[in-house]
């Protein structure tokens, strides 16, 4: 069974006080030169949490920005700010106070004491954290500051600082054992806590079930154990326990910076051998390395850039037919006999695995090497580490006569990446690219990536040898698992070629008022275009077709399969008749207008961009622009339909334009002009995007699609379109249950066009820009107001799987209905059903929830 990379997650913890009190550069200086200028100056060079969050390399690390975007950011980066939040697509950046709370939660031996006020605040913050809320109860009531200070003064406890003040301590775990002293316990708890945070993010961001993990390999650079077994372990199991992976065992792998790549190879080998089906690799961060190059940074007037701890986690599983293969046959290793010259090292690590696979240097799309952030290393005189590695790979290709010397810069540009990882030893080594590699090898157009990890063993004073290992990851041609019929029909090779170059979109088969046949015929019509592939998901109810059918038993498993295939990148977009988008997401329809046949994007047609009418329409305008841009209209023109609130929307958009998000308004056809549009402008529009509230948009979409048929059969247009918004992470397009064959076909064409235009990436970029221009503040001011008028003390019940819908609630009451249920201990989420807003609850709580809502008048009797 081949091994595949199922997911990867990355976390940073911003720990400014730990730079000063725990980083070895600083602790050494305090011993050697306690009165040094450096120690006096360093306080003025510490970044705030906000600065660390907007620091472009940190955003890349958590998936908030791509390496390509970083490459386009002018160097140096420390004075640039990226749009992005503390939670990214692949992980998060945690502030110091929450992280100290996590250290307490990681403590199984009552070693960590937190000051009572601090404990209270941290507890509240953890309660609100998306993956750490369960840890809040482990914080406890806290201790008096005097007791903590006594531990530090009299019993060698390691102080924990926040904003320069002592807020807690880590006690020693033994009176004389140096391996269990307070300092070592502190470092090990940090490693455990940050590793567990990465692990939890892996589950959250990749939708991986912690209960499915069978084995964990921890690969940091710390050692835990007592004086009889220094480094005895086992961080792996401690982290698995903390993250709730109760079905896993595991062990630690050490190899300095090369350890994560060693661990990746081990994980893939365990899966390949069939020993375990699901193996995680994980590592937390090291406080010792904080501010390692601080002296150079301070001397050059820079902020101390090494102010974050790093952590990562990745999951290797048995072949799912979709995720990239971690090819255990194509590995490289620096052996004892390899030698230490750069040629010898690069030959062993890069040329050897290529040779094994009969590959050329240029067959690898991207090499992931030591991904250290050059912003950190260059001022410290260590140069640009990734770039040096890429030059060496290129130079090796020259010696192998695969490249001309003059082509080195072009090779580095094409096959290299900028460095973005914090200099936390093992953290930058090969693995920071795993998440992006998964994107490239599934959704992107890449076919192969090489992961290279290297380590300096002399630091342990056991050998002067160097070390390193490497492994190639490949696109999964996975026809066996995904589509036996297609493989048989076309042969494996033709399928492989198709998978690499073509976009595949799908449509779900259930829910049409005209039956499954209506969907199948529409899909066949779209597939005949030939520019993209079409698959069907769900039961086809006996309808015969040559299209790829991904059969499922029922409607629930159909939706589950759809999400799975979208997440894995096997399909790039999916058309369906019903989907619960979160609030904040609404769909951009596309219709053909009757006067001159011009296509018009209706923003929006289902879903709720915001519960505030004006904000919703402003958002709709942005969503419409996103969609039109993804469809290839470079500068879409926008009209706002003359509805209640239109003038306020126009004003808001103009203000956003002044702040940097310019919307190109169209002029009404009517004599009095203006950007506010009337009926004429619908029938014969002069704009690309028409903005309306989604209920009006919904009616318009129906009118345009079915005005010639009476409504029961939608004959023209492209359907209700893709869900766009901050919460839309998959390309899902909506059709009406009345949509006929031509509309089904057009919706698939629309989906393929949007996938080709990478609409989700366009949405990320446009929303970031719009947020900077005030879109974000629009909602926070609004929310702040709501909270003030009605303070609800919500004691959050634990998150549950919510599958039961309760409809009939007014959109403006939706948030209150959810809050009410939560306050009564029923976990609830808001969403958009096909007939309007819904509250979602667990199926077991449905009756109880309906009762509560009836009693309070949210739904009728």
């Amino acid at each position: 069974m081949k091994a595949v990379l199922k997911g990867a997650a990355y976390i940073l913890a911003h720990t400014p006080d730990m730079i000063v009190h725990s980083g070895t550069t600083q602790t050494t200086e305090r011993i050697v030169n306690p009165e040094s200028e450096y120690l006096k100056q360093i306080g003025g060079h510490i970044r705030s949490f906000e600065k660390a969050v907007e620091y472009p390399p940190n955003q890349v690390y958590i998936g908030g920005m791509t390496p390509e975007e970083l490459k386009d950011t002018p160097f140096p980066w420390h004075d640039k700010a990226a749009a992005g939040a503390r939670f990214g697509r692949m992980g998060e950046i945690m502030p110091q106070d929450e992280f100290i709370g996590l250290i307490k939660a990681a403590d199984s031996f009552d070693l960590v004491m937190l000051e009572e006020n601090f404990a209270g605040k941290v507890k509240a913050k953890l309660e609100a954290h998306p993956v750490c809320s369960a840890f809040a109860q482990r914080i406890g009531a806290g201790a008096e500051i005097s007791a903590i200070k006594r531990q530090i003064a009299d019993f060698h406890a390691e102080a924990l600082y926040f904003d320069g003040a002592v807020v807690g301590c880590v006690k020693r775990a033994h009176e004389i054992d140096p391996n269990l002293n307070a300092h070592v316990m502190f470092e090990n708890l940090v490693s455990k806590a940050s590793g567990a945070l990465a692990f939890l993010n892996l589950f959250e961001k990749s939708g991986i079930d912690p209960l499915g993990v069978e084995y964990v390999i921890e690969c940091s650079e710390e050692a835990c154990g007592d004086m009889n077994q220094r480094g005895g372990g086992n961080f792996a199991k401690a982290i698995a326990e903390m993250a709730g992976a109760v079905n896993a065992t595991g062990a630690d792998t050490r190899g300095f910076c090369a350890a994560p790549t060693h661990a990746l190879i081990q994980a893939a080998s365990l899966v390949r051998a069939g020993t375990f089906k699901s193996v995680a690799i994980v590592a937390g961060g090291a406080t010792a390395k904080l501010g390692m190059n601080g002296k150079d940074h301070v001397k050059k007037g820079l902020p101390v850039l090494e102010d974050v701890l790093g952590g990562f986690a990745a999951l290797v599983c048995a072949d799912d037919g979709v995720s990239p293969i971690v090819n255990t046959e194509l590995t490289g290793s620096h052996t004892v006999g390899t030698g230490s010259s750069p040629q010898a090292v690069m030959t062993a690590l890069v040329a050897k695995p290529l040779e094994k696979g009969g590959l050329k240097f240029s067959d690898i799309d991207k090499y992931s090497v030591e991904m250290q952030n050059p912003d950190v290393t260059k001022p410290a005189g260590a140069g640009d580490v990734p770039e040096a590695n890429y030059k060496m790979i290129a130079a090796l290709a020259v010696t192998k006569k695969e490249l001309e010397r003059g082509e080195i810069p072009a090779f580095v540009e094409k096959h290299g990446l900028p460095g973005w990882a914090p200099t936390q030893g093992h953290i930058p080594s090969g693995v920071p690219y795993l998440g992006f590699a998964r994107d490239l090898l599934t959704m992107g157009d890449g076919n192969r990536v090489m992961i290279v990890g290297k380590g300096s063993l002399f630091l342990g004073r056991m050998t002067n040898l160097f070390d390193g290992v490497s492994i190639i990851m490949e696109r999964n041609t996975g026809v066996e698992a995904a589509c036996p019929a297609l493989r048989e029909a076309q042969g494996p090779e033709s399928v492989t070629v198709k998978r690499e170059n073509r976009i595949k979109v799908a449509v779900t088969t259930l829910g049409s008022e005209h039956g499954a046949e209506n969907i199948v015929r529409g899909a066949e019509e779209a597939a005949r275009d030939g520019g993209f592939d079409v698959a069907l998901i769900g039961p086809v109810q006996g309808v015969k077709t040559n299209l790829e059918v991904i059969e499922t038993a029922d409607e629930a498993s159909m939706y589950k399969k759809m999400e799975e295939l979208l997440d894995s990148g096997y399909i790039k977009g999916c058309v369906t008749m019903h989907y619960n988008f979160p609030i904040g997401v609404s769909t951009v329809g596309r219709v053909t207008t009757p006067a001159k046949g011009r296509d018009l994007y209706l923003a929006t047609t289902t879903g709720t961009a915001s519960t505030d009418r004006v904000e919703a329409m402003v958002r709709n305008a942005v969503y419409g622009v996103i969609t039109a841009k993804a469809m290839g209209i470079a500068e879409p023109t926008v009209g706002v339909l003359n509805l209640d609130g239109a003038r306020a929307v126009e004003r808001a958009l103009i203000t956003m334009g002044e702040k940097g998000y310019k919307v190109n308004f169209s002029e009404s056809l009517r004599a009095d002009g203006g950007a506010v549009m009337r009926g004429n402008d619908l029938l014969n529009p002069d704009c690309d995007v028409m903005v309306a509230d989604s209920l009006t948009g919904n009616i318009l979409c129906k009118m345009f699609s079915a005005y010639s048929t009476g409504g029961a059969y939608e004959a023209t247009g492209y359907g209700y379109g893709p869900g766009i918004g901050e919460g839309a992470k998959r390309l899902v397009l909506i059709l009406s249950r009345a949509s006929g064959v031509p509309v089904v076909a057009n919706a698939l064409r629309y989906a393929a066009g949007l996938a080709k235009g990478n609409v989700l990436a366009v949405a990320d970029a446009e929303l970031a820009k719009a947020n900077r221009a005030g879109l974000k503040d629009f909602s926070t001011t609004k929310n702040a107001k709501t909270h003030k008028t009605e303070p609800v003390e919500v004691n959050q019940p634990a998150k549950e799987v919510v599958t039961e819908e309760i409809s009939g609630i007014e959109i403006f009451d939706l948030d209150d209905a959810v809050a009410l249920l939560m306050s009564k201990g029923v976990y609830a989420e808001s969403g958009m059903g096909c007939t309007g807003p819904v509250v979602l609850v667990n199926e077991k709580k449905h009756g109880q929830a309906v009762g509560i809502l009836k009693e309070s008048g949210f739904v009728g009797e």
């Binding site: 750069p342 040629q343 140069g383 040096a388 060496m392 130079a395 020259v398 010696t399």
Partner: protein, 107 residues
């Protein structure tokens, strides 16, 4: 320069005499090469190691410099170092080395 390496250089100079020691630098870029060279000639500019304030003025050369290349077996050089000529900024490193030798070299 690594603190332990400073000790080793200092000990070598004490045992064999400063005039009999040549330090070969392998740093990957100019500034780092210059810092290492300065450490073994003028003393540790970062005042962290045992060569702080100790001006040994040793002979110092970078392995990418022509004189070093001429002094070793060409085949071995090519196998061990040759590739790096394509990778590193040789001119910058050499200029830095020459400058340090001119300023602080005693032999």
């Amino acid at each position: 320069m690594d603190l332990e390496n400073q000790n080793r250089v200092k000990n070598a100079a004490e045992i064999h005499g400063a005039e009999n020691v040549v330090v070969v630098i392998g740093a990957a870029e100019g500034e780092a090469a210059g810092l290492a060279a300065e450490t073994v000639t003028n003393g540790d500019p970062t005042y962290a190691g045992s060569l702080s304030g100790v001006s040994l003025g040793l002979r110092v050369i970078h392995c990418l410099e022509q004189e070093f290349k001429d002094a070793v077996d060409a085949a071995v050089y090519d196998e061990q170092i040759g590739m790096m000529e394509m990778v590193l900024n040789v001119d910058e490193i050499v200029a830095e080395m020459v400058s340090i030798r001119e300023q602080y070299g005693k032999y």
